[in-house]
Amino acid sequence: MTATARGWNRREFMGAAGLVALAFGLPAAAVTLSSLDPATAPTPAQRALFREVSQLVLPRTRTPGAGDVGAGDFVLLALAHGLDGARQPLAQPTPALLPHLRPDGTLDHAAWLEAELNRRAGGRFLRAAGRAGILAALDAEAYAEGRRDHPWRTVKGLILTGYYTTEIGGAQELRYELVPGRWEPDLPATPQTVAYSSDWTAVDFG
């Protein structure tokens, strides 16, 4: 059996994106997948979990949420490929992370988050009431004063990437202008001013 046949591949991803589009009346997400090693392919449960977690972080407001646009699948893809250092061996893993380390010392973030949220929910997170509160508690711990590294930070960062680089996140929730055509160095800003996802300097250094 080939990796493509068994694994999580581009066609399958596009199928998932298509289901998202059908369910929410959205254009299919532009992200596509190259073949993933079967050993790293996420389970259906993990895909459902990451979709929900993405939606909790960036919910549907005036624009669709991160789960709606397929950010959950992007995060799983990015984790598997190691974006944002996700495949760097952990220097000092805490005991809670040890069960989810791969042989090479890297953390299986998907497995960790699944176990962590289920533990906090006292059962299956996706069936729990108060999911936003459970996730908010994890988030607060991850960003607590003095805390620098936490696997949730990696996951949340990738959710943001997976949202604001889509057409909905980048050009509907924010503004996108490929060809500004002019430089206006000093304009008035108000609390209603909407940011540009195409402000590449801000994206890189902001």
Binding site: V31, P59, Y143, G157, L160, P180, W183, P191, S197, D199
Partner: protein, 561 residues
């Protein structure tokens, strides 16, 4: 002879050599090791949005780790630009045991002119006189007056936007109108000037057009700031937008791509190069051509590699290496994020468009008064003020609708100052060939030994202190700063290795960028540099190239070559 001249390389200086030599009436063969990239036709990702790319513009991290282990460290290397950088796995180099060196490379027609940072600064006599003043390296055989008219010529052709400031240490050029400072930068400029009258924050002098150059088919900058993807407007200087069409217009240019030069043949009877040999990278066939002149413009380190690999019975230590200094005294600016500060009070200000340059604070230490703390040269800052955006959310607690709403709006203003310190030339920082290992073309690997020394560390320490003082004086709240340089190479200003000098016994090139030992050989890329200054070097490479071309043509016509 097959050609009047052969130019090795098609990047910033190779393009200039081809333009100047063909316009002088010479037939020229340009040999480029990488693939062809056609202006306005082959900039494949130029107009793409992140959502049109497989990895949303972030790139395949697994591929990058495996194939682009060095290039991925370059901040301009993204999914949009990865096709403008080399594959490290296919283009290996060696380093010494104590060397960390990130060598950023672009093997393609146009070379790094497609991906460069476009910052274009004149050097001054503080720079050309630096070696003589403090005794490091060897004295430059030229001074600013020798190069000033060539700076004029280059700036007028490539188009440099900038603000004249009247600074002796950063001479003004023939500028197009400057791009404006934003509100925060304007404030910081004034705050610095009021407390330190000798310190000048000014807009970056950048090879992006603020006025069209219709005669060259180049349009003004569209403020996209995605230059490294390639610019079909021709709004920044690149070989493709500027020098290549000028050379092609003469009808005297022949271009070969996918051909890596392995060596130059030396004829001891004539004491000249008799031929240039190259490998066709696709077929591995070996070819050769002859010419009256050879210009090496392969990029500083690669030009040195060609010379080191051009051994013969007459020159067993490498071509043009009777001095024994070939490969030595390589440099790169020591750079680090000297200070970052939050800039409160500007919440009612924003901007529109993506300005493709930051600001600089010109060098102010060790000019007429030696006031460097533990170092005898200079440092300058590059940076700018910017507003944060959604990526700041990665560092902040929060989930849900309120969090999303916060990320919808421009965030806090910040100001960053990145220090660039002059790198002292040292014999121990050098290039050699590792003949025990070869690349895919059968060529020995270039080996880099490099380390910064106390001079650079002291300069960056003072830069950190000064940067924090300046931003604090401007009302900023400094949140971080460093005095530790990034790895060698990260300034992408690697230079030296075939230094210019008065004495054939201690230098490779004379004041015309001509090899002391080989009359028809000119090396006019970064390899020729005898010191590094602290400002970006490319404009100086171009001016030296144009000057060398005029000298070479004159010598040729006078029968001196």
């Amino acid at each position: 002879m097959d050609f009047d001249a052969i130019v090795v390389g098609s990047g910033i200086t190779g393009g200039w050599a081809a333009k100047e030599l063909t316009e002088a009436g010479l037939t020229v063969l340009m040999i480029e090791r990488g693939r062809e990239i056609r202006h306005q036709q082959d900039y494949e990702t130029e107009t793409k949005a992140p959502w049109e790319l497989p990895f949303l513009g972030q790139g395949d991290a697994a591929l990058f780790r495996a194939q682009y282990a060095v290039q991925r460290l370059n901040r301009h290397f993204t999914e949009f630009t990865q096709n403008h950088f080399v594959n490290d796995a296919e283009n290996p180099y060696a380093t010494g045991p104590d060397t960390a060196f990130s060598w950023f490379r672009s093997y393609q027609l146009g070379g790094r002119s497609l991906t460069w940072g476009r910052q274009s600064y004149r050097w001054s006599d503080y720079d050309f006189g630096a070696n003589k003043r403090d005794g490091h390296g060897t004295d430059w055989p030229i001074r600013y007056a020798d190069l000033a008219p060539w700076y004029d010529k280059v700036e007028a052709f490539i188009g440099v936007s900038g603000q004249a400031e009247g600074l002796a240490q950063l001479p003004d050029g023939r500028f197009q109108p400057p791009m404006a400072l934003n509100a925060v930068e304007q404030h910081v400029r004034e705050a610095i000037r009021s407390r330190w009258p000798d310190r000048c924050l000014t807009i970056g002098r950048t090879a992006n057009l603020t006025e069209a150059k219709d005669e060259e088919g180049r349009g003004p900058c569209q403020y996209r700031s995605i230059c490294a993807r390639g610019c079909s407007y021709g709004a920044y200087f690149s070989t493709q937008s500027s020098t290549l069409p000028a050379a092609q217009k003469t009808g005297r240019l022949t271009v070969i791509t996918d051909a890596v030069v392995e060596a130059l043949d030396y004829d001891p009877l004539t004491r000249k190069i008799s031929g240039v040999r190259w490998v066709e990278t696709r077929t591995k066939q070996r070819r050769r051509a002859s010419s009256r002149l050879v210009f090496l413009n392969a990029g500083a380190f690669n030009s040195v590699q060609v010379l080191l690999n051009s051994v013969s019975e007459a020159m067993p230590g490498g071509l043009a290496n009777s001095s024994g200094v070939l490969g030595t005294h390589i440099m790169d600016h020591a750079n680090t994020l000297s200070a970052m500060a939050l800039m409160p009070g500007f919440e009612a200000h924003t901007s529109f468009g993506n300005r493709p340059t930051g600001v600089i604070v010109a060098r102010y230490r060790n000019l007429d008064r030696m006031d460097g703390a533990g170092h005898s040269r200079g440092f300058s800052f590059q940076g700018g003020a910017l507003q944060s955006t959604w990526t700041a959310g990665k560092r902040e607690a929060g989930i849900g609708a309120a969090y999303k709403e916060k990320l919808r709006h421009p965030g806090m203003w910040k100001m960053v100052l990145v220090g660039f310190a002059d790198c002292v030339p040292r014999a121990s920082n050098r290039l050699t060939l590792d003949r025990s290992r070869t690349d895919a073309n059968g060529l020995p690997l270039l080996k880099i030994d490099f380390a910064f020394g106390q001079e650079e560390l002291a300069a960056l320490a003072q830069a950190k202190t000064d940067a924090a003082e300046m931003l604090t004086a401007a009302g900023g709240q400094v949140i971080m700063g460093s005095d530790r340089p990034g790895a060698g190479g990260t300034a992408i200003h690697e230079m030296g290795g075939a230094r210019m000098g008065h004495d054939p016994a201690t230098s490779v090139l004379n004041k015309w960028s001509q090899a002391h030992d080989v009359a028809n050989l000119f090396v006019t890329d970064g390899a020729q540099m005898s010191s590094s200054a602290c400002q970006n070097p490319s404009l100086t490479y171009m001016a030296l190239t144009a000057r060398a071309c005029a000298a070479a043509v004159s010598m040729l016509r006078d029968g001196q070559i």
